[in-house]
């Protein structure tokens, strides 16, 4: 049974990723093409999920939104893990002062809820950003703001390793710090880094959705799951057009599939 669920999750996620990768081929129209003669159109053969206020095909926007949300969340997760690794390598290889400074910086980052930090950072940047820039800002800031959790785990592992006999022997035999990090420390950190990367992906997908709902995520006309969810703020419309729930349903299915493939709850706890 478990194996069947696992296989179903893998197949589903593969299909979603393929759709995201080949969005221009899969989507019937471009995400920003306006059919001005049919705004707010109901479901039809031409527009299976209808059109939005500006006459844009909802299905096409959902396909492109999947591309933005599902491909950029792993990129942001990679940034977080890389920043955390670099910080921890610096703290491990340099003086105790650097270690204490990086430890303090990690604690400071963990002392602020990431969404609060993100809102402050976003407040400093221009609000009328271009769509492409907004994608980079959203996922880039997410990646940078989320480095502290993996860094805490890496730092604890590196500190444990620094006290071990085999690393002491390597240092005593005069191996340069860079080589120690790459040849001796990295193989021990690799699995933790991969686990952290996998755990951060669903977190960032959900985060983008929350930010999109607040209007701080990816800017129009580019679609993302977050900004498509803003249509849920009109309950009357949702009752009339149930397909407005499609982005939420897809988001939930992807999240459940990701949860099935990894111990999200154990890490969340």
């Amino acid at each position: 049974m478990k194996r069947a669920i696992h296989t179903a999750a893998v197949v589903f996620l593969s299909l979603v990723v393929l759709c995201a990768l080949f969005a221009p081929a899969v989507a019937p129209h471009s995400y920003d093409r306006q059919f001005r003669e049919s705004p707010n159109a109901a479901s039809s053969r031409e527009f299976p999920m209808g059109t939005d206020d500006l006459g844009r095909d909802r299905l096409s926007r959902l396909v492109y939104a999947t591309r933005v949300s599902i491909l950029l969340a792993p990129a942001a997760a990679l940034v977080s893990v890389l920043v955390a690794l670099v910080m921890c390598a610096l703290s491990g290889a340099r003086s105790p002062v650097a270690d204490a400074a990086i430890g303090g910086f990690t604690t400071l980052s963990l002392s602020l809820p990431w969404i609060f930090l993100f809102i402050i950072l976003r407040a400093l940047l221009p609000l009328n950003t271009r769509p492409g820039t907004s994608i980079l800002l959203t996922f880039g800031l997410m990646g940078i703001a989320g480095w502290a959790w993996p860094a805490r785990i890496f730092r604890a592992t590196i500190r444990q390793m620094l006290e071990s006999g085999w690393l002491l022997a390597a240092r005593a035999s005069g191996i340069p710090p860079a080589r120690i990090l790459l040849v001796h420390v990295w193989p021990h950190l690799r699995d933790i880094a991969i686990a952290q990367f996998r755990v951060l992906i669903p977190t960032y997908i959900l985060s983008e959705a929350s930010l999109g709902l607040l209007g701080l995520g990816v800017a129009e006309p580019l679609p993302s799951w977050g900004n498509l969810l803003t249509e849920l703020q009109h309950p009357g419309r949702v009752q009339e057009n149930p397909w407005l729930l499609a982005p939420l349903v897809l988001l939930m299915l992807v999240m459940i599939a990701l949860e099935t493939l990894q111990p999200v709850r154990e890490v969340a706890s």
Partner: protein, 286 residues
């Protein structure tokens, strides 16, 4: 006496990093204010009668007087007296705004966290204690489903059906509580002490009070700290989308209006609150 001294040293060793982190948080906020767009402009910029040389001299004076260390020292000095500045957007003292909004958010967080603990704890208890695969699978499915929904969407649903928003927060927190509680209860369940107690036929309430709560108190305190931090993060979108006049919606208002004195004050208060929560958790675990 010696024990009292040890406790004092332990408390002091926890308070020093706490103070340093709060000061660093405040410095970060002050840096944000100091380097925010528009900070370098002065009212004389708009006066066409002032010569460029005078204007340059005035700018130099403004920059000298507002160098980051001096600015921060002044800010901290005022903050120590309860003066966190005046909100540029709302034209109200920041401390007054914080006093006004904090109880609304505190109530939401308190009720949401309590609900999350009850639901998550109950599901974890059922999953561990009944030892039935069907119940465990149901608990996993419920929490898995709740984890997949953004808290803001849950809040919107509750808002439209006029249900209390704290329930939405409870549903968002329950899966996180469930994960840790399940691990803690599972560990307790297999401990020899509890096995012996169960074999003597002690009632579940007595087992929970005597064996579980006492032995797992440090982990539960740490979990409480973590849930409070998550609850605060979730309260921001919930309050903003559902038009609740609390701390969360104030953060958004301040960010969108680039109200730096307000953001600065809130950063100090939030850093202090969360660091206190973490320190309490650390002290309980020692």
């Amino acid at each position: 006496m010696r024990r009292l001294g040890q406790s004092g040293t332990r408390l002091l060793s926890s308070l020093i990093p706490l103070a340093l982190i709060v000061l660093a948080g405040g410095f970060l906020a002050a840096a944000l204010v100091r380097y925010s767009p528009g900070f370098d402009s002065i009212p004389e910029d708009l006066d066409p009668n002032i010569s460029p040389a005078t204007l340059r001299a005035l700018h130099e004076k403004h920059n000298r007087e507002n160098s980051l260390p001096r600015f921060y020292a002044h800010y901290l000095g005022r903050a120590a007296h309860g003066d966190l500045g005046i909100s540029e957007n709302l034209k109200t003292p920041v401390s007054e705004l914080l006093r006004e909004r904090a109880p609304v958010t505190a109530k939401l967080i308190a009720m949401g966290t309590a609900g999350g603990w009850i639901l998550g704890g109950l599901l974890a208890w059922m999953a561990v204690w009944t030892r039935r695969t069907a119940i465990e699978a149901a608990a996993f499915s419920i929490t898995g489903l709740l984890l997949a929904i953004p808290p803001a969407v849950l809040a919107l649903a509750f808002f439209f059906y006029e249900a209390p928003l704290s329930f939405a927060l409870s549903l968002a927190l329950a899966p996180r509580v469930f994960g840790t509680m399940r691990a803690i209860l599972g560990e307790c369940y297999h401990s020899p002490a509890l096995l012996a107690a169960r074999s003597r036929g002690l009632p579940p309430a007595s087992l929970a009070a005597t064996y579980i709560l006492r032995s797992a108190a440090p982990q539960l305190t740490a979990l409480m700290g973590m849930t409070l931090v998550i609850a605060f993060g979730s309260a921001i979108p919930i309050e903003t989308l559902c038009d609740v006049h609390g701390f969360g919606s104030l953060v958004m208002q301040a960010a969108l209006a680039r109200d730096m004195p307000l953001l600065c004050g809130m950063t100090l208060v939030i850093t202090l609150f969360i660091t206190l929560v973490h320190t309490a958790g650390d002290l309980a675990q020692r």
